[in-house]
C-alpha cells in the first residue's frame, strides 16, 4: 500500500525524462539535418513560410518567454529555499539552465539564422516544461 504511490511517481519521472530527452534530441536533429540534408532544409523553409502566414508567431514567442521567465524564477526561489534535498536542487538547477537556454534561443536566434528555429524553439520549450514537471513530481511528498 505504501509503495504504490512511489511506483507511480517513479513511472511518471521516467516517462517525463524520456519525453524531455526526446525533445532535446529532436531539437538537435532538426538543427543537424537542416544543415546536412537539402530536402530537410527546403521542407523546413516551406514550413516556416506556412507557419508565419497562419500563426501569430511573434506574439506567441513573447508569451512563451514570459511564462518561461516566471517558471525559471520559481525554480531559482526553490533552489534558494531547499537546502537539504540535493537531488531536488539538482533537478531545479537543470530546470533553470534549460529555461535560460530556451529564453536565449527564443530571443537571440531567428528563422533567418537558424532555419529550424521554430522547430528547435518548440522542442526546447517542451523540454523546459517537461523538466519542470519532473521537478514538481519529485517534490510531491
Amino acid at each position: 500500500m505504501i509503495r504504490q504511490p512511489n511506483k507511480l511517481k517513479l513511472g511518471l519521472l521516467i516517462l517525463f525524462a524520456i519525453l524531455e530527452i526526446g525533445a532535446l534530441i529532436s531539437a538537435y536533429a532538426a538543427h543537424y539535418f537542416t544543415k546536412t540534408r537539402m530536402g530537410m532544409l527546403r521542407h523546413v523553409i516551406y514550413l516556416n513560410g506556412k507557419w508565419e502566414k497562419i500563426i501569430p508567431l511573434d506574439i506567441i514567442k513573447w508569451l512563451v518567454v514570459v511564462i518561461i521567465l516566471i517558471i525559471t524564477i520559481i525554480s531559482v526561489i526553490s533552489i534558494l529555499k531547499s537546502s537539504n534535498n540535493h537531488i531536488g536542487k539538482l533537478l531545479r538547477i537543470i530546470s533553470v539552465g534549460l529555461g535560460i537556454w530556451t529564453m536565449y534561443y527564443l530571443l537571440f536566434r531567428s528563422a533567418g539564422v537558424n532555419r529550424a528555429y521554430y522547430i528547435i524553439c518548440l522542442c526546447l520549450v517542451l523540454g523546459t516544461v517537461f523538466q519542470n514537471i519532473i521537478c514538481k513530481i519529485y517534490e510531491i511528498k
Partner: protein, 362 residues
C-alpha cells in the same frame, strides 16, 4: 665442354647486367620487362587513354586517372570536385573515401533561396574562386547524385569555366576500374581572379519572365519538362515543400524518371548517363525536336541539367535552362498552368491561383 659453356653463359649474364645497369633510369621505368618470346606490342602495356575534346563533358575513370597521372594536356591545371549538398564535415560521400586529390564542393554554394536558382554572379564567382577555379582550370566533377553533379557542372559552364567534365558513373565506375580512394581531406587553394566576367554564358539561363513570354510569343520555343509523368500531368508536385501541382501552360514532356529523386530515363543501371543517341531515341514521338529552342526545367533545376549537358557536349547551342522550374512558377498566382497531358488531348488550362494546395508529395 660444360665448363666452357658455363663460363660463356656467366660472361653473357654479367655483360647483360652491366648494360642494363648503365641504361638511363627513365628507360627502365618506361620499357616493359623483356618477354620470354619477344613480340611487337607487349600484351601487358596499358593502352594510352585518348585525349578528349574541351566540349566533352562525360568522361571515363580511365581518362580521369590519366589526368591525375600527368598523361593528358589537362594534367597541368585541373581540380577534381566531389559534389554533394552540405559542408565537407557532414559529407559522407567525401569522408568515406574520395578520388585522390579531390576537394568537396557544396552544391549549395551555387544555388540558393528564395527559388533555389543559381545564385548571383558575384556569389557564384566567389564560390568558384574559393575553390581555386579560374576559367582556364579543368574542373572534373563527380558525385553520388547524378542530377546534383550535373547541376554544378551546368552552373560552372554558365559562369564561364571553359572545360568542365563529369566522371560518368561517378565513384562506382572509379572503383569498378580498380582505382584507389583516399580519405585524407584536401583543401583548395583559393584564387582572386577568375579571368572573365561571370557569367560568361548568360544565354544558358532562362528567367521565369522570358520563359512565360516566349511560351506565348515564340512557336519555336519549347519549355521541356524533365519531370516524372505524374508531376507532368499534375497528379503530384513531387516535393514535400510544394503544395501545388501542374506545369506551365505550353510545356512539353521530356521524360525523367519515377520521381524527383530518380532519373531512370537519363541514366543506365550502373549510374552512367545516357548518350546523345540514346536521348534522341528517348525523345522520339515527343512534342519537340532538336531544331527547337529548348529550355529545360524541372522542380528546381537539378534534373534538367542532365539533358542540357548531353546536348552541350554534342555541340548544340539552342539550349538553356529555365532555372526557376515549377517551384518558382507555382509561386505566382497569375501564371497560366496546364493539368493533364496535352499530347493526349486530355488537358485543362487554369492559373496557379486556381490550383488546389493538396498536391505535395507525402
Amino acid at each position: 665442354m660444360n665448363k666452357r659453356l658455363f663460363a660463356l653463359m656467366t660472361a653473357f649474364i654479367i655483360a647483360a647486367t652491366v648494360l642494363v645497369g648503365c641504361a638511363p633510369k627513365t628507360d627502365v621505368a618506361e620499357t616493359p620487362a623483356p618477354a620470354e618470346t619477344p613480340s611487337e606490342t607487349p600484351a601487358e602495356e596499358p593502352a594510352k587513354v585518348e585525349a578528349v575534346d574541351v566540349r566533352k563533358v562525360f568522361v571515363t575513370p580511365e581518362w580521369v586517372k590519366s589526368v591525375i597521372d600527368g598523361e593528358q594536356a589537362e594534367s597541368d591545371n585541373y581540380i577534381i570536385l566531389e559534389a554533394s549538398w552540405g559542408p565537407v564535415a557532414d559529407s559522407p560521400d567525401y569522408n568515406t573515401g574520395h578520388i585522390p586529390g579531390a576537394v568537396h564542393v557544396d552544391i549549395a554554394s551555387i544555388e540558393g533561396e528564395p527559388y533555389w536558382n543559381i545564385k548571383t554572379p558575384e556569389e557564384v564567382e566567389k564560390a568558384i574562386l574559393d575553390l581555386g577555379i579560374t576559367k582556364d582550370k579543368v574542373v572534373i566533377l563527380y558525385g553520388s547524385d547524378v542530377s546534383g553533379t550535373a547541376r554544378v557542372a551546368y552552373a560552372y559552364l554558365w559562369a564561364g569555366v571553359e572545360n568542365v567534365k563529369v566522371l560518368d558513373g561517378s565513384l562506382g565506375a572509379w572503383s569498378a576500374a580498380g582505382y584507389d580512394l583516399e580519405k585524407t581531406p584536401n583543401q583548395p587553394t583559393p584564387v582572386t581572379d577568375f579571368g572573365a566576367v561571370v557569367p560568361v554564358n548568360p544565354q544558358y539561363w532562362t528567367s521565369i519572365e522570358d520563359a512565360a513570354k516566349r511560351l506565348e510569343e515564340d512557336p519555336n520555343f519549347k519549355l521541356v519538362s524533365i519531370r516524372s509523368y505524374n508531376e507532368f500531368i499534375g497528379e503530384t508536385s513531387g516535393y514535400s515543400y510544394i503544395d501545388k501541382a501542374g506545369e506551365p501552360k505550353g510545356a512539353v514532356w521530356g521524360k525523367a524518371g519515377s520521381d524527383p529523386y530518380h532519373m531512370e530515363d537519363y541514366t543506365h543501371e550502373d549510374g552512367t548517363y545516357i548518350t546523345m543517341d540514346e536521348m534522341k531515341a528517348l525523345w522520339e514521338g515527343l512534342d519537340f525536336t532538336l531544331e527547337n529552342d529548348l529550355a529545360f526545367y524541372c522542380g528546381t533545376g537539378w534534373r534538367a541539367s542532365i539533358p542540357f549537358l548531353i546536348m552541350y557536349e554534342n555541340g548544340y547551342e539552342n539550349i538553356s535552362m529555365y532555372d526557376g522550374g515549377w517551384y518558382q512558377w507555382q509561386m505566382n498566382n497569375n501564371l497560366p498552368v496546364q493539368l493533364g497531358d496535352p499530347a493526349k488531348g486530355d488537358v485543362v488550362y487554369t492559373t496557379v491561383g486556381e490550383l488546389s494546395n493538396d498536391k505535395a508529395a507525402k
